[in-house]
C-alpha cells in the first residue's frame, strides 16, 4: 500500500480531533500490519470503492470512545448508547470527508460508504491481499488508531 493514501487521513484526523476535542493531539509512529490484528473495542469503518478500493478503520477502546463522545457532546456519557455511537460515527464521517477531499484533489477517484460502527470484545480484523497501515493518535481523551487498507483497483 502506498503511504500517499494514509497521510490525508492522518492530517484530517489531526485537524478534526483538534477542533472538536480541543487540546493537544499527537501523532505516533506509523506501522504496518499484513495479517489479522486485534481491534480495541469500538471501531468505526468506512469503505472506499472506485479507482482505489479498501477501507478505513477508526479504532479505540471503550473508555476512549466514551470520553471522546462526552467531550463532543459537552456532557458526561458513561454507557455505550445510541448517542455515543452516533457521535463516534460523526467523528469518522468528518475525518473521512476531509481526507477524501484531499485525495480527490490529488486525482484519486472513489466513493465512500456511510460509516458503520462495531463494538465488542476480542474483535479482530483481517485483510486479504492488502496490508494495513496504522497511525496511532494520542488525544487528551485516549488513543485512536487510524487503520487504512487501500489498494489500486486491479
Amino acid at each position: 500500500m502506498r503511504v500517499e493514501y494514509i497521510n490525508p487521513f492522518v492530517e484530517a484526523a489531526f485537524n478534526v480531533m483538534k477542533e472538536v476535542l480541543g487540546g493537544d493531539v499527537r501523532r505516533g509512529e506509523l506501522y504496518l500490519k499484513s495479517t489479522s490484528m486485534p481491534v480495541m473495542g469500538v471501531a468505526a469503518i468506512v469503505g472506499l470503492a472506485g479507482g482505489v478500493e479498501g477501507r478505513v478503520l477508526f479504532d479505540m477502546d471503550k473508555a476512549s470512545a466514551l470520553s471522546i463522545a462526552s467531550a463532543m457532546n459537552g456532557e458526561d456519557l458513561t454507557v455505550m448508547d445510541d448517542l455515543v455511537k452516533a457521535t463516534i460515527t460523526e467523528l469518522a464521517n468528518m475525518i473521512t470527508a476531509q481526507a477524501v477531499t484531499k485525495l480527490h484533489e490529488l486525482g484519486f477517484q472513489f466513493d465512500l460508504t456511510p460509516p458503520a460502527i462495531f463494538t465488542g470484545d476480542n474483535m479482530e480484523v483481517s485483510n486479504q491481499d492488502v496490508e494495513a497501515l496504522i497511525v496511532p493518535m494520542e488525544t487528551g481523551h485516549g488513543k485512536v488508531e487510524i487503520n487504512v487498507a487501500i489498494r489500486e483497483r486491479a
Binding site: D82, A86, T87, E90, M94, A97
Partner: protein, 145 residues
C-alpha cells in the same frame, strides 16, 4: 463613583433567536445523525430559537415541514441521508413553499451537492464540524434577509 448604570449589561442583549416582536424563530432540524441534530438543537435553543421539529431523513423532513407550515421559519437540512437525500427534500420543500428558508448542513467534499442546493433555492450552507459561532452567524444572516 461609578454606578452599575455606567456599564452596559451583557445580560440584556436580546437573544438572537427572537424576532423583533419577542417571539422565537421556529426551526425544523433535519439530520440522520442523532449527534448532529442534538448539537444543532443545543446551539439554537441556547440563543432562544425554538426547535419545533426534528426529522431523521429527507422524507420525514418534507412531511414535517408540510405539517408545521406556515409555523416554521427555517430548516437546517443535512445532505447525505437515507430514504431521501437533503437535496431532493430541499427541492420538494421549495416546490411546496417557494419562500422556504433552508440552510444546508454538509460534510466537506460535497461542493457539487452544495452548489446544486444553492441553485435549487437553499439560502446558505454550513460545513461540518459545526462551530457554534459559524452556525449562529449563517442562520442569523438568512433570517435577517
Amino acid at each position: 463613583m461609578k454606578t452599575k448604570e455606567d456599564f452596559p449589561s451583557i445580560n440584556e442583549r436580546k437573544p438572537e433567536g427572537q424576532k423583533p416582536d419577542g417571539t422565537p424563530f421556529r426551526v425544523l432540524v433535519v439530520d440522520d445523525s442523532m449527534f448532529v441534530a442534538k448539537q444543532i438543537t443545543q446551539i439554537l435553543t441556547s440563543e432562544g430559537y425554538d426547535v419545533v421539529g426534528q426529522a431523521a431523513d429527507g422524507l420525514q423532513g418534507l412531511e414535517r415541514y408540510k405539517e408545521l407550515f406556515p409555523n416554521v421559519d427555517l430548516v437546517t437540512m443535512d445532505i447525505t441521508m437515507p430514504n431521501m437525500d437533503g437535496l431532493t427534500a430541499l427541492q420538494k420543500i421549495i416546490d411546496f413553499d417557494k419562500n422556504a428558508r433552508v440552510i444546508m448542513i454538509s460534510a466537506l467534499g460535497k461542493q457539487d451537492l452544495v452548489k446544486q442546493s444553492l441553485l435549487s433555492g437553499a439560502k446558505n450552507y454550513i460545513v461540518k464540524p459545526l462551530d457554534r459561532k459559524k452556525v449562529l452567524e449563517r442562520i442569523q444572516h438568512v433570517l435577517s434577509k
